[in-house]
């Protein structure tokens, strides 16, 4: 049903509400809602309103600059772009395999990144909705409110994030936009002092990660039916998978399952991704709409990210996270868990997995090895794929004889979730908003649905920015009926005509 809300007939006759910009998401986007005279929602769309185009910008640049250049397309998860580009350039320099030290240092960096990103998303951006309710007063429904009411949780969120950032800083020299990976390897490994420093806190970090999963699980289970139903859509799921079917964030093959958990494709070498995935465009969004080619554009869209990974993998290699995964999968019965809000739960299980995996790597002697680089014959095509915090991330480059980039194609995690986010907001719009006068708490539900995906709109359009919220309700003649503004400090201003 919600599908029909993509395009309304005679939209000019409908009332238009715009949620712009979206708050507590990374980047800048907007949602438009069209209502008829009885307030029934007739159209709902998530638009990404910025455009930057890194693919063009890097044309003509030397390939060895890519890992450093492209990480600049995002300040939120630069490490993911740094590593995906590095993997692509590994292929360009013919490094079929990295040295054990290089691979493990990169993994450690990646786990640090996923840990800090997931912590930020849950504690800073989403815990206000989940702890206080979607309709809590706006001035309270934010991280400051969490600090006041749940100081211990807020503190853990801050320190979990800090720990991930420290890993990033130690390995890459900076918290944001450092340098670690180069084509064929890494520039440094960890020394003993650095390892001991990180080991000092890892037990505490793991304990907090377990605590975070427990909180989320409790919240989810307390209103199981509502949480299962809210923004629920049935979708295909795409993710990377380890050779043994395990949850894999850094390197593996691609797996896609349908909404019932049945295989669409499995163990696909990601360098063949173009044989399986295509990108559609729509005239109302800068963001592309990828889909699984064998199913087609209409039904072939899929979800990526923590929910897809948790549903697709057969097991998790670390014990605490595996135990949580089993509990998580139980709520779906034999089927994949399809609730959008289950993203939060899956995300925190991954956070726990990262803490455990970090612990393992810090005890691995390879992490301080000094065999850092591998190179072979230069190739013309390099494709690097990994699981970024928000989902599968594709970097694809083609270079000329001189080593300069001729063509680049990036499919970022959020783009993979484009159709799914649109479907989720349509579900919320038709189920909870339709027929009602739009109020801030109702509109927040749309944002709650989007936030579940942790979209990085910066990445998706390769742009950056975050601003306060402004919602305008205009009638079919474009006359302003109602307007709510939220400043960056959280103060609300309402202006009626």
């Amino acid at each position: 049903m919600s599908n029909s809300l993509e395009t309304a007939n005679q939209p000019e006759k409908l009332k238009r509400t715009v949620i712009e910009p979206l708050t507590r998401v990374e980047g800048h986007g907007k949602v438009t809602l069209l209502q008829d005279e009885d307030n029934n929602i007739r159209q709902a769309r998530l638009h990404i309103v910025e455009f930057r185009g890194f693919e063009k910008f890097i044309q003509g640049r030397p390939y060895w600059e890519l890992p450093v250049l492209v990480q600049r397309l995002c300040g939120i998860c630069p490490v993911s772009h740094h590593l995906a580009a590095a993997k692509a350039t590994d292929m360009l320099v013919g490094a079929a395999q990295l040295t054990p030290t290089a691979e493990k240092v990169r993994r450690l960096l990646h786990y640090g990144q996923v840990l800090q990103s997931h912590a930020l998303h849950f504690f800073h951006l989403c815990s206000p909705d989940l702890l206080f309710g979607f309709d809590d007063e706006v001035r309270h429904r934010n991280i400051v409110g969490v600090m006041e009411d749940y100081p211990e949780i807020a503190k853990q969120g801050v320190l979990l994030r800090k720990y991930g950032q420290e890993i990033i800083e130690i390995i890459s020299g900076k918290r944001i936009h450092g340098v670690s990976a180069v084509p064929g390897g890494v520039v440094k490994s960890l020394n003993n002092e650095e390892i001991q420093y990180l080991l000092g806190d890892i037990d505490q970090i793991t304990e907090w990660a377990v605590g975070a999963v427990t909180i989320m699980k409790r919240i989810f289970m307390e209103q199981l039916d509502y949480h299962q139903e809210f923004a629920h859509i049935d979708s295909n799921m795409l993710s990377m998978i380890g050779n043994d079917g395990s949850l894999e964030l850094y390197h593996g093959n691609l797996r896609a399952n349908d909404m019932n958990g049945k295989s669409i494709f499995d163990r696909v070498d990601y360098t063949d991704y173009q044989d399986y995935i295509r990108e559609g465009v729509k005239n109302w969004s800068y963001m592309k709409f990828p889909f699984i080619d064998s199913i087609g554009a209409e039904h072939g869209w899929y979800r990526v990210g923590p929910l897809a990974r948790m549903n697709n993998c057969d097991f998790i290699s670390t014990p605490l996270a595996e135990k949580e995964r089993q509990e998580f999968r139980n709520i779906g019965g034999n089927k994949p868990v399809q609730s959008a809000l289950a993203y939060h739960w899956a995300r925190l299980i991954e956070l726990l997995h990262c803490a455990e995996a970090i612990n393992g790597l810090l005890h691995d002697p390879d992490i301080s090895g000094d065999d850092l680089m591998n190179k072979g014959e230069l190739q013309r095509v390099g494709i690097g794929v990994l699981e970024a915090p928000r989902g599968t991330l594709f970097h694809h480059y083609e270079i000329d004889d001189d080593g300069l980039v001729e063509r680049a194609n990036l499919i970022v995690s959020t783009t993979n979730n484009n159709q799914a986010m649109n479907e989720s907001i349509r579900q919320v719009a038709s189920k909870y908003l339709s027929g009602n006068e739009l109020t801030e708490p109702l509109l927040n539900q749309i944002e709650v649905a989007i936030r579940a995906y942790d979209p990085c709109l910066s990445c998706a359009t390769h742009a950056m920015g975050k601003m306060p919220l402004e919602i305008s309700l205009v009638d079919s003649n474009n006359a302003l009926i109602d307007r709510i503004e939220k400043g960056s400090t959280g103060q609300i201003k309402r202006s009626n005509n």
Binding site: P62, W64, V68, L69, R72, G403
Partner: protein, 243 residues
């Protein structure tokens, strides 16, 4: 024995020999005067003007101005630093310097001198000139976006390598570095990776191919000490010269 000739650099007395420039004498005495196109191995050129000082009240380039007995040279006043900063800002906006993505970052003399003069922003409007990368050579690439026309490669290729591979074409704002080969491409010149010209670039314009960023952040040439103590990038090992 003739009396030692000296001049004053700020408050310090600097001895000099006949024929010395202010720069020669200052460097020998361990005093830093910011510079980019100067390299003691080559004939002074005076083109970047970053070594501007005030000598007896006149603005001159320290690298070309002969030292004179009892001369009073202002090298550190705010007024002189302001001038240098302006010159550096113009160098930045004339080219396309994307330091965060540049292999030379952290080991780049232009960047290091900019830090030294406390340059916090480009200040002027960027020209965004359309320039290219020539990666046609097997081992060496030139990124013309980052060239500051210091002519060190021109001088090194002419005076040391005896190959005359580089020259400057055009004047004023149209001046640009060109390659003397049939096609104008570096790959068709007889440049080799061991040529002196390849090892004198103070910025990230002439670089070895297939590598970069191999020094971790924190260990690059200018990460720990300022250029006033580390000195020229060309005076250091090849391994230190890449960010």
């Amino acid at each position: 024995m003739p009396e030692q000739q000296t001049f004053k650099l700020d408050s310090k007395t600097i001895p000099f020999r006949d024929g010395d420039t202010i720069m020669d004498a200052a460097l020998r005495a361990g005093e830093y005067i910011p510079h980019l196109c100067h390299n003691p191995e080559f004939t002074p050129h005076g083109s970047c003007r970053v070594c501007v000082v005030s000598a007896n009240g006149r603005h001159v380039s320290a690298c070309t101005q002969q030292a004179m007995n009892d001369m009073e040279v202002d090298n550190r006043s705010d007024a002189i630093m302001d001038k240098r900063r302006n010159l550096l800002q113009m160098l930045f906006v004339e080219g396309n310097h994307v330091c965060p993505g540049c292999e030379k970052s952290g080991a780049c003399q232009l960047q290091a001198v900019a830090y030294y003069t406390n340059m916090l922003s480009p200040h002027y409007t960027h020209f965004f000139p359309k320039r290219s990368v020539d990666a046609s050579h097997a081992d060496i690439a030139i990124d013309f976006n980052r060239c500051i026309l210091c002519e060190l490669c021109v001088r090194a290729s002419r005076d040391v390598d005896r190959k005359n591979i580089f020259s400057i074409s055009g004047r004023g704002i149209k001046a640009r570095l060109v390659i003397n080969s049939d096609t104008g491409k570096l790959g068709d010149s007889d440049l080799t990776a061991t040529d002196k010209a390849v090892h004198v670039c103070p910025v990230g314009a002439i670089l070895p191919k297939h590598r970069g960023y191999d020094k971790p952040i924190g260990e690059r040439l200018y990460d720990r000490q300022p250029v006033s103590q580390v000195g020229d990038v060309a005076a250091h090992d090849e391994d230190d010269n890449h960010g």
